[in-house]
Each structure stands twice: as C-alpha cells, then as structure tokens.
Symmetry: C2
Subunit: 218 residues, 2 copies
C-alpha cells in the first residue's frame, strides 16, 4: 500500500514558465569543453532518468558509461563510416551543406553513454507490451529525455548521436544480444552558450513548424 | 542565422527541486473525472510537445484528437480484445492480480489522442536516421513525454494506453499506412489525487529499483 503522506505538489505559473524555458532552451549539443564533469552530477541526472515512466514498471534502461579509449575509438570509427554513407544520400547544395554540419561531439565530450534497452527483462512481467512490444524501447527514450532535461537544469549539455551502427556499438560495449541500442549520448559543458534556436535551423538545414500543423480532430 | 538576443536562462536549485517533484509525481493516470478540460489548456500542452527534440528537426509527431463516439468505441473494443489476450499469459496469483488492475481510463477521459509517427515525412531530409530509422519513432516519444509533463504542471492527468492493436487504432483514425501508432493518450482531471508511488507498485505488481542497478562503467 502507498505509505506516502506528503501532499501532491502544486506547480505554479512561475514554475510552468521556467519549465517552458527548459524545453525551449534544451539543445542537442555537439560543441563541448573537454573539462571534467563532477561524477555526483552525472549520478544525479541518472537518478532523474530512473523516475521516467516505463511500461509495466519494467525500467528496461541500461546506461553504459564508456571511458575506455579503445572502445571510444570504435564509436568514432562507426560514426565516420555511417556519416560517409549518409552523405551519399544528398546531392548538390544539400550535400555541400551536410558536409559543413557538426553532428557529434565524440572527440570532446568528457562523459559518454551508450543507452540500451533490455528487451528480455522480466521486470514488469510483460504487462502492457504484448500488443506493442516496442513500448520497452519507448520507456528507455523517456529515461534518456529525463536525463537530458535534468542535465540542462545544471547547464550541462547532452548530444544524442544516432549516426552509428547499432551492432558496432553493442560490440564495443560487450552487452548481451538481447540489449538494443537506443542512443549514444555525449555529455559535457557546452563550448558555445546554447541558444533557443536548434543548430540545424541556424545552419539552414530545416525549420521548426508551429504546432497546428501536426494536429487534427476527429 | 540565430536572431535570438535573450540570454540563455540559468536554472536555480529551487527550480531543480521542483522539476524533480514533477518527475517524481508524474503518474500514469487511469482514474479520470469526466468534467471537461479547457481547449486552450490542451493546446498549451501541445505547444510544449512541439518543443521536443526530433531527429534532423523532422518533427514527425501527429496528434489526432478522437471525440467521435463511434471511433472511441472501436478503441475500447480493441483494448478489451487485447487485454483478454494479454491475460492468457498469466497464471495463478499473478493472473488474479492482473484482473484487479485498472489499466486505462478510456470510458472516462474527456480528451483522448492517438499519437502517430509519420514514417515518410520529408522534413529533416533523413538526417540522422539512416543507420537508426527508429529515431523517428523515438522523436515522437519525446513529444509525448513533453506533453505529459506539461499537463502535469497544470494538475492534468495523462494515461498512456498500449494494450491496443495498432492497426485497429489506425483504422479508427483513418490515417495513412505510413503513420505508425506510438501511443494512445487519455487526458483529464485525475479522479484520485496522484501519489508519488506508481499504481502498479501500490497494487503489488512490481517495485521500482534504485538507479545503480542499471548502470555500469567500461
């Protein structure tokens, strides 16, 4: 039974305004200082990740912090290979623009995580995922986003690198076959003060759309 | 180019404490009042969803608000079918416990959304998803979680229903084949004041694990 006696918190307009600032000024960071991040700060952000929702209370997130230079070099090589491949999809001006984008901070970020989903966890006993097994993966995404937002409240930058071969990252991390790669995260102090405009928008790759464009009523 | 002149916000400890409260007291709500929710409040939460990160700035989230009783009845029927099927996976005490769980608020929640991912959006021009195409789906998950947290700052409850057949929900919403169902959301005022203990933990289905259990360093 629930033993909690603390009353449910009320959030006021001042908090809501700040929370909107947090979402608006989050950024995917690719420019990092190499200066170290206190370990207890990283742990505090991991504790916040652990408050994320998960299907059936399965908590399938597995954070592997990569410090070993040999393993990190395998990640960089995978990015280089996948990025060269990705470039082939573009032509002309878009191809030129693509080559100018900085899409990761793998050589600078002092803290790096591969984040996996344990697809065979017993925890939660399968509740809520029989008809939509991908719910396990989605639970891990909410943990990553919790980590990301928590980091931002401390001024710490997070970059989500997805231009990687998942199997290469799994091999570099020596994790079981039934763990799926969800994200590779670069974490550190931003080298450039984050703006509220995404870097891809600043560089002319793509623009944000306002919200009515993605909403309809039936 | 970035025209923003507002300085990057600093978040203080008081905000961080409140943000932790927000994550800690979020809940998956299944008990709703039937009283209406102001439309502008729902729109405000959708605006917050639109601030979520997305691969290549693709913003692939598509929110379909379902009000039509016939369509809603199809969702309820799909839940009933999938839930009866899910029950077959359990035996003995666990089966008995499963039957006592309330896993959705489909008959009460005044506002309901099916949330899809447009798997073929041109937006973002494919950047960042060639080696991990599932990144599009993950972007939609961060939008849903943004909506959820924003709703909670207003005291509004959100329940994510995943015991559904995705194809049935797509048919009920009459959306293109290349839209994937990510979530079905029930939204409304909670009928029971939310605690900081998940309902599945209160009912003895599963317990939360502390965070060192999911972390390792290499």
């Amino acid at each position: 039974m629930d033993q909690t006696v603390t009353p449910s918190p009320d959030f006021d307009q001042s908090f809501r305004d700040q929370f909107e600032n947090l979402l608006r000024w989050r950024r995917d960071i690719r420019h990092f200082e190499t200066s170290p991040v206190p370990a207890d700060l990283v742990q505090a952000c991991l504790s916040m990740a652990n408050l994320a929702p998960s299907v059936g209370l399965s908590q399938p997130w597995r954070f592997v912090e990569l410090q070993d230079p040999t393993r990190r070099a395998q990640i960089i090589q995978s990015f280089e290979d996948c990025n060269a491949q990705a470039l082939q999809a573009y032509e002309g001006e878009k191809r030129q623009l693509y080559t100018t984008l900085k899409l990761e901070g793998l050589r600078q970020a002092p803290v790096q995580f591969a984040v996996f989903c344990d697809d065979e966890t017993d925890k939660g006993d399968g509740l809520g995922k029989q008809s939509m097994p991908e719910m396990l993966n989605y639970s891990v995404v909410t943990a990553i986003y919790s980590f990301w937002l928590a980091a931002r409240t401390h001024g710490l930058g997070v970059g989500w690198v997805s231009i990687l071969d998942p199997q290469t990252v799994k091999n570099a991390c020596n994790v079981p076959d039934h763990w799926s790669l969800i994200a590779y995260l670069c974490v550190g102090w931003p080298a450039i003060d984050p703006t509220c405009t995404p870097e891809l928008e600043q560089k002319g790759w793509e623009n944000r759309q306002p919200h009515p464009d993605f909403y309809k009523k039936l």
